[in-house]
Amino acid sequence: MIKDNEKMDELFRSKLEGFEQDPPSYVWDRIREQQAGKRRNVFFLYLKGTGVAAAVLLAFILGWQWQLDRQEEIPTLMSEKQEIVAPNQQAEGQDQAAAAVEELTAEAQVAESKQPELIERETEAKPVVREKQIEPLVAAARNVTQQVTQDEIAREQESFSLLNLLDIQLDEVFPEENQLAAINQKKITTNEALLSSVDQSRIQENARLLAANREAKQSGSWQVGAMVTPVYAISNNSQSNNYARDMAIANNNSDLNLGGGISVEYKTASKWSVQSGVYYSKLEQNSSNQPYRAENIYADAAPPSSDIQDELAYFNTAVAVRSGEMLMNTAAGVVALDNLPSNAKLSNSFESPSSQDGILLTATEFEQAFDYIEIPLIVRYQLLDAAFDIQLLGGINTSVLVANNAYARSQFGREHIGETRDMNTFNYSTSIGVGVGYGITNKISIHVEPQLKYFLGSLNDNPDVSFKPYTIGVSTGLSYHF
């Protein structure tokens, strides 16, 4: 016996040890193709990474810019308010001071002989007053020129003339420069009290209106919406020869499903806007039996006639039974069957040379359903801003697999039988499209947006399967602007 074994081993070893056979030339072509594919994948990975990074950066910059606008708007208004108040306060304060000046002028007339000296002192005092008091006020007045009304400008000018007059008189009464400065300092701190409450509220209201106007013009706006999207998915799949040989037949090239979700969009002051949101979508793959495998049941005997094979066509879905699991190859990946469909029986061929050593005897059709939650990052460009606005849009979507189910459909109805193996949880796709919007009111508009979406990688991780459907969806919905 041992001698026989050795003889057997030696027979095979001697004949097959150095066995050589030229592989078909297309094997090398396929190797080159796959190498190129891997390089493409690296490029797409890089592109994906760059796209995500750019999108995050864009979102950050827009968010930061928006936040900055909001923060800066309020302090600017406060300082403007103070600046507006300053000349008014100055004016009112100077009204009172003017009365005192008039009195003082009368006294001053007594000492007319001192006039040349007064002029002389005026020339000395003026630079001090202008530098320390007038110049800041002029600067403040310059800042608010665009915001104050004509009336305020007139009052401002009046204030300056009174101030000039006041300077002269004060200078006469208080000859010491440091004393004048002290008085002026005191006036500034008490200006609040001099401003009437009506004026203060009016200034605040003006500032608020100004801010609202500016914000509307410069800081963009937000838009939230709800969309319903019928999606037409076109199957795009390929498998290795070995896998495809035992694969259930893919009996549909397309399917129609309903998706939808909510969107959030930020419109910048220019024609660009950025949109994100949360969407639901669904993809399907349907399969049926492999008629040509009917003869395999009779592999060791004479195969039945073609008529009989046709009748038995449904008795032949190839499955593999491994570690207590039943696995079936489909176009979208390997389905692991938890339950045998009601009208199915399993036949097993333990010593079959095929990897699929089982046969599912059934007339059932199979349906794989994949539910995804999508988070898009879409950039839009406004082409037309009229009664109908038209936008070009493009971006990247992250699809998260949330449900993965396989069903059997037969005369017993639709039964859950398991799930598809090796499905990727996170998938990335690019989308391009056109958006058409119509404003029903100032705040609410209706949208219709056809979009084409293409997955960047296979939805299934199995190296023998590439399942990359592309979808055409027409989103329809309403949005609210604020």
Binding site: M8, F12, L16, P23, P353
Partner: protein, 184 residues
Amino acid sequence: MKDLRQLIIDSAAGKAKAQAKLYQLLAPKMFGVCLRYSKDETEAEDNLQEGFLKVFEKIGSYRHEGSFEGWVRRIMVNVALERYRKNHVMHPVEDMAAYEVPEFDDRIISDISAKDLMKLIHELPPRYRMVFNLYVFEGMNHKEIAKEMKISVGTSKSNLARARGILQEKVVKVFGEIENNYSA
């Protein structure tokens, strides 16, 4: 030898011409290896393709120690093992039965061709084929085979015995009969 070394270095650098030459040099031998581990030519082609993709991917890690051909061959065997593990982790059956197989004449050995034997190997069930290959051609013992295939040593032994039994039976049945016919 120097040429092969340069070819390996250039292939590691991603030069397409060098990779093509290396493929031309080794593909027939490696296809022979893949054929032994496969159920048919299509599976062997898939394994050869996957194997060479791995060779070009990992060639940078080859240290120029030992036979390069042996290194590539080991990759091909590993690809076949990976495919087997993925598709055939199943049936923890201990099959220790003794098989009665007919004896065959020594004359058969000289008449039978390599292609005929390859066909018989293809017809073996996957696990028997795998154990037979690892034992006979890779020189592994049952402990090593059990580890590689994640089966018990007993299963490895019984699978080898069953593989030999099936092969011997077929050799005698197909080629023995031809021999008898000729001699009759």
